[in-house]
Each structure stands twice: as C-alpha cells, then as structure tokens.
C-alpha cells in the first residue's frame, strides 16, 4: 500500500537565504580583519575592549547568526516538511537584522555607551526571526526530536539576546551591576553551547544521513544527547548564580557526556551509509564534531583541575571556530550549491544536461581551504595560550585569507 506524502509547498525563495549568506560573507571578512588589527589586546587577554566586542559580535551575530538564519530559511522546510510561514516577513526581518547588526557592531567600536538603540533594532530583528520560526514550526504536522533540538536552540537564542540587552542596559545605567559577571557568563554559554550547538545537533541529524545516504539507523540515542546536553547547560547556569563549583563541574561533565553521545550517534549513522566516499566539505563538518569532543574534554579537565579561568579564552576561540564555524562552513559548502542548483537547473532536469552538485563549487579548493582554516585557528589558539605575538599574527592572517577565499568560493557558485 502506498502512502502519499504531505505537501511541503513551494521551496523557499532563493533570494531570502542568499541575502543572509551574502551579508554573512562580508561580516566574517571584516570581523577577521578587526581581530587581526587588534591582536595585541587579545594576546594580553583584553577581551573586553570595544574593538574586540565589535569584532566578536560581528563574527558571532553578523556571520554565524546571520548564516544560521539564512540556512534555517532553507533547511526548516526540508527538515520539518513545512513551508516558511511568511517569506515577505522574512525579507523585512533580514533588513531589520542586517541594519541592527551593522550599526550595533559600528557603535560598539566607536561609542559602546550608545549601543543600546542599535542593539534594540538588532533585538527586534532576532525577535522577528524567532516569531517567524515559531509560526513555521507550529504548522509542522508531526513534531519530532529534531523539533525539540531546534526549538530549544531558538529558546536559547531568545535568552541570549535578552541577557545581551540586559548587559548593555547594565553597562549604561548600572542596573543589576552586581549580577553583570553572572549574566555575562550565562550570555556566552547560552549563545554558544545553547543556541549554536543545539541547532547544529538538530540539523546534523537531518543532513548527516542525507549527505551520506544513510539508512536503517536508530534515532533512540538522540533523546539522551538532548537530555544530557541541556541538563549540562542548566547545571552550569545554576552554578553561576548559586556560586557552587561542584554544580559547575557536574554541568561540564554532563556536557561532555552529551557531546560524546552525539559523536557516537553520528558515527553509528555514518556507518550505515550507502555512499562509500564522502564529500570533502561534509567530511570537514564531521571532523568539527571530533574537534568539539576534544574541546569538551579539555574544558572538563580544566574545570576539574580548577584551571578553567586560565584557559577559557583559547577554549572559547577553539569552540567557536573549530566546532561551530567549521560545522557551519562544512555544511554551507554543501547547502549553497544545492540552493543555486535548484534555482537555476530544477526546471530543466531531464530536458537538458545539468551539472552535478560537485560541478557547482570548487571541491578541490575545499581541502587547502579547510586545512588552512583549521591550522590558522590552532596557531591563533597556541599564540593566545603562550602569549606569542608572532604565532597569533601568522594564525590570524591565515584565518583571514581562508575567510576571504571561502567567501569567493561561495560567490563563485552564483556564476555557475
């Protein structure tokens, strides 16, 4: 007996995800150049200066968040079999968020005390995105474990920006001044391990089997991954406010168990693949999971030996770049050709010869590009740990060049 599929409606208008992706390319290049020009401050451990705030927010919000939003406009219909609630609203949301992120980054650089208003514009853009996704996910006929991961990631994003705005208000008015360090740490944790990691977990469960053509794998482990990781986040935030080191240690232990379970789960999925040879960009997205595991292990060891505060900077850089950024770049290298191919060739498939996905993007470039990116980050991290200026600059120049080449590779797809 055959079962007919649900209609997923029309595909997302390509201009919507591409608006986010193009903006993000510019943001990553500018942010890396800013880091390059303020290397001395980073090496001296001065992370809380206006230029570094500006670069960090441009990187995290202008690049990673914008790209995640753009990718979600494309992936949510694919993963959840439901069309985006309102595309026009999506374009308006893009314009508001892009304006907010740009003015926020500029204000943080030149006059941080004036960052509240652009911060509120950015907040509005992100709230619009959350509303859009909430309305879209509501339409999903059968919520599943992926919905839980992505839904929780969206809640973490909401809490992150709420905390971020509270921090700006606190800085401007002195409101909740004594809570500032706790709010700041919660902001960082929820923004990275909450929003990005849970989002990558969720979409990896769709993309890893899709890109490897895996079938017949179990999904039971996913709920344990979710349970361990989210509990870890709750325990760590609890430890900030209750000032209990033991809670923090237990929280980091839970994060490690959660991440290790995820790694193991993906290994079991990939073992069931039909496609013998995996594409390079996708292999690097998988490698990012291994890096994430190592970073979680190192963070746990640092917490257990009471050395976390000494290593938090390099660990954060490694977490952002080798886990989050490498995952995003790896998947994006696959998603963008899909987007452009669908836009340009879907109407002529079967009628004329069409290129394959591999023809759409320079795959040969992937190997030196990803290796350059990874090496650059590793050198930057060592430069920061050992406080060696030369190492930092060599690494940061490599990362900046890799970002530019990555941007050009993505733009080149649009000429195919």
């Amino acid at each position: 007996m055959f079962m007919t599929p649900q209609s997923i409606g029309s595909e997302t208008n390509i201009k919507l995800p591409f608006s986010f992706i193009l903006f993000s390319i510019l943001a990553i290049i500018v942010s890396q150049v800013l880091f390059l020009f303020h290397g001395e401050a980073l090496i001296n451990g001065q992370f809380r200066i206006p230029a570094i705030w500006s670069a960090a927010h441009l990187f995290i919000l202008g690049w990673a968040l914008m790209i995640a939003m753009g990718a979600m406009y494309q992936l949510v219909p694919v993963a959840f079999l439901t069309a985006i609630w309102n595309e026009t609203f999506g374009f308006i949301q893009f314009a508001v968020t892009a304006l907010g992120v740009t003015t926020f980054a500029i204000t943080l650089y030149v006059a941080p005390h004036l960052a509240l208003v652009p911060g509120l514009v950015m907040l509005l853009g992100i709230l619009m995105f959350l509303f859009q996704m909430g309305m879209t996910l509501r339409k999903q006929a059968e919520p599943n474990i992926l919905t839980l991961f992505v839904g929780t990631a969206l809640i973490c994003l909401f809490l992150t920006i709420l905390l971020g705005i509270t921090l700006v208000i606190s800085m401007k008015t002195g409101f909740a001044g004594e809570l500032y360090p706790l709010l700041f740490k919660s902001h960082l944790l929820l923004g990275t391990a909450g929003w990005f990691t849970l989002l990558i977990f969720g979409f990896s469960y769709k993309m890893a089997p899709m890109f490897s053509l895996s079938h017949g794998y179990e999904m039971k482990l996913a709920k344990y991954v979710y349970g361990f990781y989210v509990s870890g986040l709750v325990f760590i935030i609890g430890s900030f406010f209750l000032n209990q080191v033991i809670l923090q240690k237990f929280g980091f232990f839970l994060l490690l168990i959660g991440f290790s379970s995820f790694l193991w789960h993906i290994v079991t999925i990939i073992k069931k693949r039909i496609k013998k040879k995996l594409d390079r960009p996708f292999s690097f997205a998988l490698l990012a999971i291994l890096f994430g595991e190592i970073i979680h292990l190192l963070a746990f060891m640092a917490v257990m030996t009471n050395h976390f505060s000494s290593f938090v900077g390099p660990l954060m850089v490694a977490y952002l770049m080798l886990w989050i950024a490498l995952s995003i770049i790896g998947y994006l290298y696959k998603i963008v050709p899909f987007l452009w191919w669908t836009h340009k060739y879907s109407k002529i498939i079967g009628k004329a010869d069409v290129p394959t996905m591999k023809d759409m993007i320079n795959e040969k470039l992937a190997l030196p590009l990803f290796i350059g990116f990874i090496l650059g980050i590793a050198i930057v991290s060592f430069g920061l740990v050992w406080k060696v200026t030369l190492l930092f600059y060599i690494g940061q120049i490599t990362v900046t060049i890799a970002s530019i080449v990555f941007g050009m590779a993505i733009l080149a797809v649009m000429k195919k």
Binding site: F2, E11, K206, T342, I349
Partner: protein, 106 residues
C-alpha cells in the same frame, strides 16, 4: 495495444527515465530505485509511482518535474501522472546493481 507492444513501451519509458539524474549522487532515478511502479492507465497516458531517498529531499520538485517531462516528451505518450509516495520507504535494496556499483557498494 497488445501486451508485447505495451511491455516494449514501458521499457522505453523506463530507459527514458534514466535521463533524470539525482545531481547529488550522479545516479539516475531508475538505478537509484526511486521508480516503484510504471503502467499505462490509458493508451497514451502513463502512471508513475515513485519516491525519494528521504522525505523533504531538497530536490523534491526538481526530480518529480524531471520525471514528468521525460515521459511526456515521448511521442507515444500524451500525459504522465506522477504520484510521489513515502510508503514503502526507499531503502538501498531497491537500487539496481548498476546503481550500487556507481556508489561503490559492489
């Protein structure tokens, strides 16, 4: 149309469908095992029941419209009715030997 001619036409349609490639896997829809059923409901009307490797495949619209076009452009066919189904779910055992070989599984 007699049984033999009908069988020949169905073979011809099946061969023509091999022009529709999954651009990610570089494999045609027939060898990938996506075509579940192929029949002639009327003399010049073909019915195709097919699936995709995963629900929500991003190439959903492209592959289905490619299949429809490939059959409708044949001079023996006026119309193709394509039905996309998820049950029974696609699995690798539906692939042909050629398909498995292309993906390095044989």
């Amino acid at each position: 149309m007699d049984v033999q001619n009908q069988a020949e036409l169905l073979d011809k349609i099946r061969n023509n469908l091999k022009r529709v490639l999954d651009p990610e896997l570089k494999l045609n829809v027939v060898d990938l095992g996506l075509i579940y059923d192929l029949s002639l409901v009327e003399e010049r009307v073909a019915a195709i029941t097919m699936t995709l490797t995963t629900p929500g495949c991003p190439l959903h619209d492209s592959i289905v419209s490619g299949v429809k076009y490939c059959v409708e452009e044949m001079e023996e066919i006026d119309r193709a009715e394509v039905q996309l189904v998820w049950e029974p779910a696609w699995s690798p055992d539906k692939m042909t030997e050629d398909g498995l070989r292309t993906l390095g599984r044989l």
